[in-house]
Symmetry: C2
Subunit: 446 residues, 2 copies
């Protein structure tokens, strides 16, 4: 099998599922936010399905109202991934950590330790953090974008240099010769940037993959440049195939500009499937999830998406003929075309919303085959190199994906039958790198 | 049993043992530095022995020569304790983290997450970090002591306030009522110091013990004040009973000055036992450990301790009669009295050193009963509330302590027969505290 296959990552959120109402699903464990056993169970399921990686998005802030919704984030991503490192064997372990509100030495140490503990399966999604409330947790405000990204470049370079501060054969462990390590091969990095600096070395030897893999997400032109230089994987949020292809081309161009082979950078498109025995069953599940959502507000927003003043009283009715005639997708929200498409099928407004037309990723609510079809269409259209999958509810969603969707993708030759190796680099097809990328430093010198 | 009993903590260092040559001991796993399974094994042993806590000292720097010595520190203490949290049930999990080179929000989040994952067994040894090479890893230098400790007070208060930012019954988990949490009971802390600030709240509910326990170590008068205010446990390094009693009295006075009951603060004295079938066997083990130590340098230092110019050529001879007559313990090193005592017994200089007279804790090299006798003597003299035990080599030292020393202490009524409860607070006899200590804030207001 030499044809291109997709990379799959599973998003871990607060523990219940990507939908804020997932904690109420019948069968869900109400303590999933704090109960690590639940996460282990989902990780085992994903690993059984040969999923390449788990991903924990993170922003250092609690900025949501928990009255009706469970937390969107994990209590602590590094600790959670450490738990999973011990209880899984092949799956990659990736989390976001802020380049703005962490010191490079602390980042380098924890990610490298995770990489060693997991035997070469760690990845770092390096983001700058743009939430003012997160900045306030550090007694700070969000710096101007240019400054924030200048610091991000410095932080990533120092972290990678620290990762490479032990040569691969520095450890000797020679009992007879009484030599533990070769200190000529453990060297300081002595890097001084405008924003951050570190002397090193880090107290950590290489892992089975050398050092963790870099991921990146968002941030416009600045983010693209960061991704083009350092990332092996990029999280993206396109809503349409066209949008996704454009984002992927821009990313590949950014990699080329940095002197890299664009195939080294995989774009993972966010995707939220609801997997059920039928489309109707999927909608029923999503209507239940929507019970904690402010649907009146959503109806109004749906109105702005399709160019109509909509009244929440119409929630349980479909659009009327005149409304359908007047409706026009808004050019300001890429989800509008699909929203109107679904409305035209005659669903009530509640059901239009249950299709997930206002969710933060494209939603497919239907059978495993519907979900696989969508993924195949995107993948074959060159819209992405894989998907970052946010399952609506975890307690049954992981098994549904692994037992029903993954096998279809495998049958169609779109997804690997087994892990290629034991490290994240091997399973992601990420190039070898140890320490700084020398191609980049040569450019900087030139 | 109402009489006072001792608190025992086991020091975890790089993974081999407290002696830098422990990695060479026959039977030691050469990969103990990176192999978490080893640490789990030692933690299981300690827990079998009802030891109250494990302690990881830490400074964010690799500032030692690894040519002959294994690392003194763990690759990452928070990640290592997370591993142990999952694989143990009762033992406390305590690590050092710097108040100078960490943000309070990051500290608060990771320690509280560890506390939740371990079901109420986390502790934080809050130290200011005094190593210039560690500061250089953060592109910084060590601030003047007054400033460093001013920041430490702010950091600890913000961390504790963040820990208390969820009231104990904030989580509702009411499926029918569609209410996940009571947002009136999850509040920002809005603390602004001179050095650090944070808005909060933390995204983490209380643990079984509410919040982690604070420990403290070193720092002279400034350190004492910190300990008196916040600490439930203090690591100390006395070399003699007199010194220890003075340190303990000073600590109890500091607690009283802060308006606390001095029994709330336990002083743990550092102690390094080598446990063997006889004193001669213990010395043989320590002579092997000393093979990677620069004994010529130590002989010279031994000379300054006992007021004689000593020549390394005398390494394998005892002191001569004239030397013994001229010798005088140095008033500048509290270990000198014992060094001369041992020398007077007629041992060769190599064996005097093998007694551990220059180690960084008092050493007893002998049988389990010798070790227990020493601990009993110190404890009954009011020199400490317990011990922080640094075993010379872990691979057999943990079991030796647990199977041979602990039972003697238990028989003598000096050490508990079983854990008092499931949380670190219960097992340490630490008072309940949630959020900031109100007694302190009242003082501050007064
Ligand atoms: C798919 C995707 C995932 C993201 N994940 C995170 C995350 O986990 N944490 C975070 O703080 N920001 C995350 N972001 C936000 C971006 O990193 C970035 O901050 C945002 O796009 C705004 O750009 P700016 O940094 O230039 O302001 C994500 C963005 C996208 C598109
Ligand atoms: C028993 C003991 C344990 C200590 N453990 C640590 C530690 O784990 N990490 C650290 O950086 N410093 C540690 N220290 C050092 C003290 O925190 C303190 O920095 C030192 O005594 C110097 O005081 P200063 O902070 O006022 O300069 C320890 C000190 C003692 C006595």
């Amino acid at each position: 099998m030499t044809s291109r296959q997709m990379v799959l990552g599973m998003q871990f959120s607060g523990g219940y599922g990507a939908e804020p109402g997932a904690w109420r699903l019948p069968g869900a464990n109400l303590n999933s936010y704090t109960d690590m056993d639940q996460f282990v169970r989902y990780a085992h399921s994903a690993e059984r399905g040969k999923v390449q990686l788990l991903f924990i998005a993170d922003t250092p802030v609690l900025d949501m109202d928990l009255t009706h919704h469970a937390p969107r984030q994990a209590i602590d991503p590094m600790l959670l991934l450490t738990v999973l490192a011990r209880e899984t064997e092949r799956i990659g372990l990736v989390t976001t950590a802020s380049t703005t509100f962490n010191e490079p030495y602390n980042l380098a140490r924890q990610f490298k330790a995770l990489d060693v503990i997991s035997h070469g399966r760690a990845g770092w999604n390096a983001v700058t953090t743009s939430t003012p409330a997160a900045a306030a947790n550090f007694g700070s405000s969000v710096p101007p974008r240019a400054e924030k990204y200048e610091r991000a470049h410095e932080v990533i370079q120092i972290v990678q240099a620290l990762w490479g501060s032990w040569e691969k054969d520095a450890l000797l462990l020679d009992v007879e010769g009484k030599r533990y390590a070769d200190m000529d091969k453990i060297q300081p990095v002595n890097l001084q940037g405008r924003h951050v600096a570190s002397r090193g070395p880090l107290p950590i030897p290489p892992s089975e993959q050398g050092q963790p893999v870099i991921f990146q997400a968002g941030g416009g032109g600045y983010g693209l440049e960061l991704a083009g230089r350092y990332a092996s994987g990029v999280y993206a949020n396109p809503y349409t195939i066209e949008d996704a292809r454009a984002q992927r081309e821009a990313l590949r161009d950014a990699a080329k500009r940095a002197g890299r082979n664009p195939d080294e950078v995989k774009m993972l498109a966010g995707f939220m499937p609801t997997i059920a025995s039928s489309r109707e069953a999927a909608l029923e599940r999503r209507r239940f999830l929507d019970e904690v959502v402010d649907l009146h507000q959503r109806v109004r927003y749906l109105g702005t998406m399709i160019g109509l003043p909509l009244d929440p009283d119409q929630l349980d009715q479909p659009l009327m003929a005149q409304q359908l005639a007047d409706a026009m997708p808004s050019p300001h929200d890429p989800r509008s075309v699909r929203a109107l498409e679904v409305a035209r099928e005659g669903w009530t407004l509640r059901d239009v919303l249950a299709h997930g037309v206002i969710d933060y990723h494209p939603v497919v609510a239907g059978t495993a085959a519907d979900v696989a079809d969508h993924m195949q269409e995107w993948f074959e259209a060159g819209a992405c190199d894989g998907f970052s999958i946010a399952l609506d509810g975890f307690h049954d969603g992981y098994d549904a994906f692994v037992d029903q969707v993954a096998p279809i993708l495998q049958e169609r030759g779109l997804f690997h039958e087994d892990y290629e190796g034991t490290t994240l680099r091997e399973n992601l097809g990420a190039h070898e790198q140890y320490g700084l990328d020398l191609r980049l430093s040569q450019q900087a010198r030139a």
